[in-house]
Structure formats: structure tokens, C-alpha cells
């Protein structure tokens, strides 16, 4: 009996047990398999979402604001990541000790820092945009609750150079003024958000499957030339100091492409510390401030008269020995003259002569001709806030207004507008749109020119250029003359309008001209606001033109981007009828 069950077990029970074990194993594997299928397929989406919610994070990658460069590729504005020192005061164990420790690296009084930490705020900036060595010192302190946070900062490596033209971007990288605002969208690019996983320790593990990248902004190449700009600003600053004037502006323009080669303002401001500067200095007056141009308007009035066939350069006018009555008003010349040719009227800047020329043209034709030259219109450079001055329509009966208009009163312009209008004489009679950007040319490709339609005949242009040369050779603008180079230009000494009338002591002295007169490379306008002592355009603005023009001739390419046709002039050294 005792052997039988053992034999039975050997024969039958053990295999049964094995089957049971195998059955359990099979069941177990089947269960695992089923669970795996459930997890990987049926519940996969729900579980993935849950996992993503728990561990996933998105990291925002801000595009670096692109560079602003000058026409030669020199950097005018560049962005970089810098550290700012932030604090969470409630997490700081000893705020007094922290303030004392941070005072040295941040260069701030510990009392000031303690005040910020004790203000009761949950978060506080202790200092933004700190220098790298200061950031390293703060980091070494290792104060819990004080942290370095990376931020983007805009740097202007040339300091105040071209500050009003370049403008500035705020702490969030948004252009707020000048070229920074004009080209904001292109400069900014687009930020990107990348998906990443954060582990238990908070380390961010980037997603390898779809590495999104921010779209970088596009660098912008402005038309200005840093060297010319620097020289022009120095010349303006000296003129400002010499004349104790309130403000000075210089605009240099390529007469064929319309590129603004330099735009200097004195005083200027440093965009690196714009929040500390006088806000009135942010304004690019060359684009946004209007003024009555005075005598710099005369060549344009004369050009309209010549083009209309109303006068010829050698026509003679009686300039009434310095006093001439128009309606109920007396027009005066600074220096009395008797008989003057049209050329001499421009050369010596006779108001009476200009008024008499305008009588021959008529008010409507005069206004119409000036409009064709761009007066009364926004120049169209795209600079933020750019204005176009004021030019009113006149009836023929408005004799005084017409006479005033002929010598630059009762009309307003901006410096950029006046320089662009002068470029019409320099380029042979075509209207010019001022351009902020450098003109680019691929090999064999035509330039995108700023030149507009012809607004003055070539014949008239030649005649006016001859008159403008006479101004510099023997007229009111001799201080603009350059030895070895022919200069053409016009002086202006405009009374400022104050308290409802023309001031007898506050003037805007100006000179707008170009060189070389036969084949101009640039047009430069110099505008000095309220100079003291000597106050005429010839005495105050023309010397600045001379200095900057000499430098520009040395620095700018010998040939303009577009080869112009040489302007044939008939100017004589004596400045007679041309």
C-alpha cells in the first residue's frame, strides 16, 4: 500500500501539478500581456497626457534681436544675454545680512538693498543688467532666495553716436524709437516654445524629436556711415559750443539713391541709458521738427520760375535799394541792392528780388512747383513720426503770402525734406525719397533707387546749380568753399516765430549744399538753432558744411553708386549772370 500512492504520484500527480504551474504561468503572462496591451494601446493616450502633465514643461526660446549695422557693417546696436539679480525676500533667512553682503558686488548702499528686501513684496529686482564680474560675485555668495536671472539687453557700442537716428529698444526687446522702431518687426524675429521633460530633480531634458528653433531677426544695414556720422557729430558739437546755440542738426544724403549717410543732432543722447536721459532729446528733429527755411528756399522758388519760363538767369530786377512794399507790408533786404540779375538775387540772397521773381510766376504756379519738389509732402523715408512740413495753397490775390513764400516765410520744412529737395539740383532734376537703409547691389543688378520722377528740367537744374556755385564762390556762402573742389549751396538765416511774430534775435542759421558741384557725391544740410553772436547761415552753418564736406570727400567712395551725368554749369568766379 505504501508504494502505491507514491507510484501514483510519480505516475500522475506531478504532471498535474506541473500543468497547474504552467497554467498559472500562462495565465500570469497572459495577464501581463493583456495589461501591457491595455497600457500601450487602450490607455496609452490618457497615460501619455497624464505623464506629460506631470513632467512636461515648455521652455520659451526668445529670438535674439538682430543687429543694426551701418553701411560698412559696423555694429550700431547688438543684443546679448546678461544677468539680473532677483530676490524672493520671504525665502531669505537674514535679510539684513543679505543686504550687507550684496552691497559690494552690486555697488549699492546696503540700506537701499535692505529697504527693497523689507518692502513686503514676494519678488523684487535688486539690480537688472549687472556686469559679468558682479554677477559672478553674487553667484559666489550663494544666498538662498537671491538668484541671477538671464535677461536680454540691447547694447549701443558707439554710445550717443547717432542716438536719435538709431533710437532704442526697451528691456523687453521692443523698439521704441528711431530705426529700432522703424524696423522692429524684422529685428525681433519670432520666439519658439520647445517641449521638454523635467526630472525629479528639476533638470530639463529637451525633446529630441522636434527641436523647435526661434526664428532669428534679420540684421538691418542702415545707410549711415559711422565714420562720417562721428565726424559730423564732433563738428556739430564744436559749432554748438562756439555759438552757444540751443540745438544743431546735420543731414547728409546721397543725391542719387536718397540714402541718409549721416544724421547728426547736438545735443544727442545715449540710448544705452535712455531711461536716465532727458526725454526731449529722444526726438529726431531732422525728421519731426518743422521750421521756416528762410533764404534756403530761394533756389527752389527761382527754379520754379525758370522752369515755368517766367524768368531767365540774366534777367535784371530792381531790388529797390533794400525796401519794397507789397500790399501793406514792407519787405527788406539785409543789404540794400539796386539792379540784380536772377543769379545775383540768389548769390546775395535778396528777399526783394525773390519776391519780384515770384510776381512773374504767380502764386498758384509757385505753390504747384514747390509741391512737385516735395514741399508740403511727407518725404517718405519711413522714419517713425516723420512729418512733411506745411505749404498752403495760395490765391493770386495773396501777394504778401506769395512774396513771403518765395524767400522761405509762411512755409515750413524739416531738415531732411530740405536736403532731399536740394538733392534734386544735385542729381539733375529728379525727386528723391530719403532712404534709411543702405542700398544693396548684387553683381550685374540695377540699384533700387530712391529717385523719383523728373520734377525740374535738366536745363533749369544746370542754371540753378550755376547760381548755387556763385553763392559759394562770391555770395553769402563763401565760408563753405573748399579749395580744389567746386561747392554749390545756399545759406539761410530764418527768423524764428515766437509769440505770434518773427523774433528779431532768435534765428535758425542754415546752409544746404553739395560737392563736387559738377558731379555731386552728397548733399549736406547744416541747421543751427538760435546761435548767439554771429547768427547768419554763412557765418555759422557754412563752416560746418565745409569741414564735414571735406571729410566726406575723403571718406566716401570716389564714385557715387550711380554714375551721374556731369552737370554743366556756367558759374563765373565773379558771380555775375550765369
Amino acid at each position: 500500500m505504501s508504494r502505491a500512492p507514491r507510484q501514483r504520484r510519480r505516475a500522475g500527480l506531478r504532471p498535474v501539478r506541473l500543468d497547474v504551474i504552467a497554467g498559472f504561468a500562462l495565465f500570469g503572462f497572459a495577464a501581463l500581456f493583456a495589461r501591457a496591451i491595455q497600457l500601450q494601446t487602450l490607455d496609452a493616450d490618457w497615460l501619455s497626457d497624464r505623464a506629460r502633465d506631470q513632467a512636461a514643461t515648455t521652455v520659451s526660446l526668445e529670438a535674439l534681436r538682430a543687429e543694426l549695422q551701418d553701411r560698412r557693417g559696423n555694429v550700431l546696436a547688438v543684443s546679448a544675454t546678461v544677468d539680473s539679480v532677483a530676490a524672493w525676500p520671504r525665502r531669505i533667512a537674514d535679510r539684513r545680512a543679505a543686504a550687507t553682503a550684496l552691497a559690494g558686488p552690486l555697488g549699492l548702499p546696503s540700506r537701499e538693498l535692505a529697504k527693497r528686501l523689507d518692502a513686503g513684496s514676494g519678488f523684487v529686482w535688486l539690480q537688472r543688467w549687472v556686469a559679468p564680474d558682479a554677477a559672478a560675485r553674487v553667484s559666489r555668495l550663494g544666498i538662498a532666495g537671491v538668484q541671477l536671472l538671464p535677461e536680454r539687453r540691447r547694447f549701443y557700442p558707439n554710445g550717443a553716436l547717432a542716438g536719435t537716428f538709431i533710437g532704442f529698444a526697451d528691456r523687453d526687446g521692443r523698439g521704441l524709437s528711431g530705426a529700432e522702431l522703424a524696423f522692429d518687426r524684422k529685428l525681433r524675429g519670432a520666439s519658439a516654445e520647445i517641449y521638454a521633460v523635467r526630472d525629479a530633480r528639476g533638470n530639463v531634458l529637451p525633446d529630441v524629436s522636434a527641436p523647435a528653433q526661434p526664428r532669428a531677426g534679420q540684421p538691418i544695414k542702415l545707410a549711415i556711415d559711422v565714420r562720417l556720422q562721428h565726424f559730423a557729430e564732433n563738428a556739430l558739437a564744436e559749432a554748438l559750443a562756439r555759438t552757444s546755440a540751443q540745438h544743431a542738426t546735420l543731414v547728409a544724403l546721397d543725391p542719387y539713391t536718397g540714402e541718409i549717410l549721416a544724421l547728426a543732432e547736438a545735443p544727442g543722447f545715449d540710448p544705452n541709458r535712455f531711461w536716465l536721459e532727458d526725454k526731449s532729446l529722444y526726438r529726431a528733429r531732422a525728421f519731426v521738427d518743422e521750421f521756416e527755411p528762410g533764404s534756403t528756399m530761394k533756389p527752389f522758388s527761382v527754379a520754379v520760375a525758370l522752369d515755368a519760363g517766367a524768368v531767365r538767369p540774366d534777367d535784371v530786377f530792381d531790388c529797390e535799394n533794400g525796401r519794397y512794399k507789397v500790399g501793406r507790408r514792407i519787405i527788406r533786404d539785409a543789404h540794400p541792392h539796386e539792379l540784380l540779375t536772377v543769379t545775383d538775387i540768389v548769390r546775395v540772397s535778396s528777399n526783394i528780388g525773390a519776391a519780384k521773381i515770384s510776381e512773374r510766376v504767380g502764386a498758384r504756379k509757385l505753390v504747384g512747383g514747390l509741391r512737385k519738389l516735395g514741399f508740403g509732402d511727407v518725404p517718405g523715408s519711413g522714419f517713425p513720426g516723420e512729418v512733411g512740413g506745411m505749404l498752403r495753397d495760395l490765391h493770386e490775390r495773396q501777394e504778401i503770402e506769395r512774396a513771403n513764400l518765395s524767400f522761405g516765410q509762411g512755409v515750413t520744412v524739416t531738415p531732411v525734406q530740405l536736403v532731399a529737395a536740394m538733392a534734386t539740383f544735385a542729381n539733375g532734376g529728379r525727386r528723391v525719397t530719403p532712404r534709411l537703409l543702405a542700398t544693396t547691389r548684387s553683381e550685374g543688378e540695377d540699384l533700387q533707387l530712391g529717385l523719383g520722377p523728373r520734377v525740374i528740367s535738366e536745363q533749369t537744374t544746370r542754371e540753378v546749380v550755376a547760381m548755387l556755385r556763385a553763392v559759394v564762390e562770391s555770395g553769402t556762402g563763401t565760408r563753405a568753399a573748399l579749395p580744389n573742389v567746386a561747392v554749390a549751396g545756399k545759406t539761410g538765416t530764418a527768423q524764428k516765430v515766437k509769440e505770434g511774430g518773427y523774433s528779431q534775435k532768435d534765428f535758425i542759421a542754415s546752409f544746404v549744399g553739395f560737392a563736387p558741384a559738377e558731379r555731386p557725391r552728397f548733399v549736406i544740410g547744416v541747421f543751427i538753432d538760435e546761435p548767439h553772436g554771429l547768427h547768419t547761415g554763412g557765418a555759422v552753418a557754412a563752416p560746418v558744411f565745409r569741414e564735414v564736406a571735406a571729410y566726406a570727400l575723403d571718406q566716401l567712395p570716389a564714385e557715387p553708386l550711380v554714375a551721374p551725368r556731369p552737370v554743366q554749369t556756367h558759374a563765373s568766379a565773379g558771380g555775375g549772370a550765369g
Binding site: 506531478r14 503572462f29 538671464p150 563736387p516 558741384a517
Partner: protein, 110 residues
């Protein structure tokens, strides 16, 4: 007996064994792949951080270069070396048409 029993239920047993071994092997591969992926992610994270640090250095150097090129910095140094701007009298505009340079006499302002 056991051998004969195994022989009888052999195909099922070997199938189960193969399934178990396959599942274990697959699990091992899966664990290895997951571990490797995580490790690669850490490595990638380190490289991204490294790239970021280098990018910051490039940005800083770009600012420094631009500041060093500023005319306001260069001009005083050039002056100490005896360099100066050419005077207006020293500038001659070359006439590309072949004509003689135009001479103009300077005078007084009016």
C-alpha cells in the same frame, strides 16, 4: 515517467518557455532602450547647456568687439599716435571725366 510526460506536453511547455524568455528579453531590451534614451537626454541637455553658454560667450564677445571698434574709442588713440583728419585744403576730388580739379578761393561770409 517525467520525461514521457514532458514529451507529451512538450510543445506547450517549450512554447511557454519561449514566450517567457522572449518576454524577458523584450523587457530587457525595452529597459535598456529607455535607460539609454534617458541617458542620451541628459547628455543632450548638457550639450544644450554647453551650447547656450558658448552662445552667451559669443554674444558677449560680439558686444566687446563692437565697443572696441567704436570711433569714439579709436580716435583719441589715433591722435596720441600723431594721426589727424586731413584739412579741407588737403582734400582733392578726382574728376573721373579727366578734367582738372576745380579750384575755389575761400572768402568771408556775408
Amino acid at each position: 515517467m517525467l520525461n514521457s510526460r514532458l514529451r507529451r506536453s512538450g510543445p506547450l511547455f517549450y512554447a511557454l518557455l519561449a514566450l517567457a524568455l522572449g518576454a524577458i528579453a523584450a523587457s530587457g531590451v525595452l529597459v535598456y532602450v529607455r535607460t539609454r534614451l534617458t541617458s542620451l537626454r541628459y547628455e543632450l541637455g548638457r550639450h544644450v547647456e554647453q551650447e547656450h553658454a558658448l552662445q552667451l560667450e559669443v554674444e558677449r564677445l560680439r558686444v566687446e568687439t563692437a565697443a572696441l571698434e567704436a570711433p569714439e574709442r579709436i580716435e583719441p588713440r589715433a591722435r596720441t599716435l600723431g594721426l589727424s583728419y586731413p584739412k579741407p585744403e588737403q582734400v582733392v576730388a578726382i574728376d573721373e571725366t579727366g578734367g582738372a580739379p576745380h579750384a575755389v578761393a575761400a572768402g568771408s561770409a556775408r
